[in-house]
């Protein structure tokens, strides 16, 4: 059974969520892998939401907002524009492929663009594979992993 990506999408209320809605009313077909979460502005998207989404089981996170210059709250999307690249750097530092986080500007009339973004991002995540966080849970029965076949396993045998 092939892997179905689970993607969380943070969509700003005024442009992107409306654009997504337009894709729906226009009956455009796209993969069902994105769970859309409406936020009032892409500037509301805290990097903590993105990390929490990965922790909760998302394989990819999509953030969509109004085009720069068109933010309903004037500057919110600029804050998003600054935060997402640094969040990608942070993800890369954690060994999580930063291509799992995507920022796109989708306006209220761009239903077709929304369909294209979802389709391409789902395919990208399908290629990257599932994200399984290593050693996140502490299991008291097996509190640790000794790497098989390594010098350490020999030393600890």
């Amino acid at each position: 059974m092939s892997f179905e990506p689970r993607i969380i999408g943070f969509l700003c209320n005024w442009c992107s969520y409306t654009g997504a809605d337009l894709a729906g009313t226009a009956r455009l077909k796209y993969p069902p892998n994105v769970l859309g979460i409406r936020v009032m502005c892409s500037g509301r998207v805290d990097p903590g939401f993105i990390l929490e989404a990965f922790r909760a089981g998302a394989d990819g996170v999509l953030v969509c907002g109004c085009h720069p210059g068109d933010c309903h709250y004037v500057e919110g999307n600029y804050k998003c524009l600054r935060r997402i690249p640094l969040t990608k750097t942070l993800l890369q530092g954690f060994g999580v492929d930063s291509r799992r986080l995507r920022l796109e500007w989708v306006s209220a009339s761009e239903g077709a663009l929304f369909k294209d973004v979802i389709t391409s991002f789902t395919e990208q995540i399908r290629e990257l594979g599932p994200l399984k966080l290593k050693e996140w849970n502490f299991d008291p029965a097996m509190p640790d992993v000794v790497y098989a076949g390594t010098k350490l396993e020999a030393a600890h045998a």
Binding site: D46, P47, G48, I50, L51, E52, F54, R55, P68, Y78, K79, L81, R82, R83, P85, L86, T87, T89, L90, G93, F94, G95, V96, L133, K134, E135, W136, F138, P140, P143, D144, V145, Y147, T150, K151, L152, A155, H156, A157
Partner: protein, 323 residues
């Protein structure tokens, strides 16, 4: 009426928390006057079997400092949890992993490889790496197993209270200990389980004496590159300061002395991930709306993960590097 027992233990720790406890100066006399010291390996000759011999709940209060990164640390965490009425995660190592937690940027094998084989000053031609047991004529000798992932105390046992700080500031320790003695002496109720003691509910920025204005940062610099203006916010001057994402309670002593906050009091109240909040705080004030310039400004931040999670890596949302 026997005196209540007090235990102070150090797991993966530097010893700074034990020194900070002594740093409450003459108040330590109130402590030894009220409590009967049951176990404090740093300061006196106690053995693990002394703890094992106590009944469950025989220790009234345990201040447990140090992160959990070995089977020995875990054994004592479980043992002291069993024997204590109140178990406090004392200090940043126990509370959130602190500096030992930065081992979560690597793997145990990588660390052993570097320390015992590859570091420039290592001479180890036979390639000997520590194991966990060896047979000698007298029998078997064992060493604790070092874990691949460093954990905080609340991640491995049930903890009653957390006292943050690296180390917790002595005035805060004195206040907490004084409150505990007051509660035990006068039969007052304990605070709700899970309360953070010895810290307040704002961020370090709130305690900082410097002037703060609307920030626009064009690039970040290392602290040695300028002589900072003593009255102005350090971040405004381009120095990365973790004050916006660090719990208050320390009195902002570092920033008052001209040193940027490193985040040792851990994540603020109601926050899950300190580093993510630092990303939000730092990135929001980049002085640009151009994506290319954003990348250039990011390039002036050396080691974002290590800087933003210096103290809180094991307690972060992702907990460790995914290797």
């Amino acid at each position: 009426m026997p005196k209540p027992k007090l235990a102070i233990y150090w797991a993966a720790s530097c010893g700074g928390c034990d020194i900070a406890i002594l740093d409450i100066e003459d108040k330590i006399l109130d402590v030894v006057d009220f409590f009967d010291l049951a176990f404090w390996p740093c300061a006196a000759d106690f053995k693990y079997k002394d703890v094992e011999a106590l009944p469950d709940g025989g220790i009234t209060l345990t201040l447990f400092n140090g992160a959990i990164r070995s089977s020995e640390n875990y054994h004592l965490a479980k043992l002291l949890r069993q024997k204590s009425v109140v178990l406090c995660a004392f200090g940043s190592c126990a509370g959130e992993g602190c500096i030992p937690g930065l081992a979560n940027l690597y793997t145990r094998e990588g660390i052993f490889d570097y320390a015992y084989l590859k570091s420039p000053s290592t001479v180890n031609p036979e390639g000997i790496i520590p194991g966990i047991s060896t047979k000698v004529p007298e029998g078997e000798l064992t060493l604790p197993l070092l874990w691949n992932t460093v954990r905080s105390l609340p991640q491995v046992v049930d903890v009653d209270y957390i006292i943050p700080g690296c180390p917790p500031q002595s005035d805060q320790i004195a206040a907490v200990v004084g409150a505990v003695i007051d509660i035990l002496k006068n039969g007052k109720p304990l605070p709700p389980k899970g309360t953070v003691l010895g810290a307040t509910d704002k961020t370090c920025c709130d305690e900082c004496p410097r002037d703060r204005n609307v920030k626009k940062i064009a690039k970040f610099i290392r602290p040695f590159e300028i002589v900072p203006d003593p009255k102005l916010c350090l971040m405004e001057q381009g120095i990365i300061c973790c004050g916006p994402a660090t719990r208050s309670g320390c009195g902002a002593k570092c920033v008052s002395a001209g040193v940027p906050c490193r985040g040792c009091y851990g994540k603020p109240i109601n926050i899950k991930d300190q580093g993510a909040k630092m990303v939000s705080a730092i990135a929001s004030v980049f002085d640009t709306t151009d994506p290319g310039e954003v990348e250039r400004i990011i390039a002036t931040i050396p080691d974002p993960v290590g800087t933003f999670y210096r103290f809180s890596l094991p307690d972060s949302v992702l907990r460790r590097v995914q290797v």
